[in-house]
Amino acid sequence: MSDDSKDERPRRGRRRGCRFCAEGEAVIDYKDAQAMRYFVTDRGKIVPRRNSGACAKHQRAITTAVKRARAIALLPYTN
């Protein structure tokens, strides 16, 4: 309950900031089926922002990319 414990707990293994904002690292391209698998769970759902670590802008880009990839059968709607 206490909010103090949150400050004490070290943030381990969590990268800060959006990895798509960091230039050159990863691009979101709906045509790259293999890379797109990274953005969906094994159930085929879009990975939420709290897990993907993307900023709002890039999460939107991921969402549209996943939906485009689904439309042309590069990604499944369900698994």
Partner: protein
Amino acid sequence: MSRAQLAPGHAREYETIYILRPNLEKDQANDVATRIADAIKGTEGMLTEAEFWGQRRLAYPIERHHRGTYVYIKYLGRGDTVSEIERQLRLVDSVIRYQTVQLASNVPLEGKSAEDVSIDYEVEYEPDEPEQTVERELGLDAPPPERRRRDDRDRDRDRGEPKGGDDDKANADGESSDKAEAKTEAKAEAKTEDKAEEPKAEEAKPDAAKGDES
């Protein structure tokens, strides 16, 4: 993207991906290509890129096909270019899916020559064999998910049954203290029951674990 009017001498950039039925004849694929080329020419567009991706496995079946031949094209044009291309794609039966995405608006057409990009179909088609294997795969792949669903529904009942079997055994043991013959009989019965139910219970367990994960 922006719906603003196009400046004269400018165009928008689009890309279209279309999926052809697997195991098409080469000239059928070329027929689609020429239809698109004509559509672009007829609407003063410009084909800038064409890629033949070849056969790929579809993430889900489309019109009962599990594989499809992907073709990617990139072109400059206006809205009527897109509507004409999509109309042509709709007319051809061998196209099972298409999608157009706008990449950029207000691209100046000047300085860009209509260099003829021909869609390269010089990719060797896999013979009829793949479709056959897909059917075979289908036969193998289809049952497990179905079975799983059935198990999910009956999971609780399956779980309950082995428990019931144990109770029977306990009862049998209690009775057998009086009659030795009845004991052996009952035990044998219980064993056969257990044997019959064990595989069921084992089936249900992994599914239950899966259910917890998701």
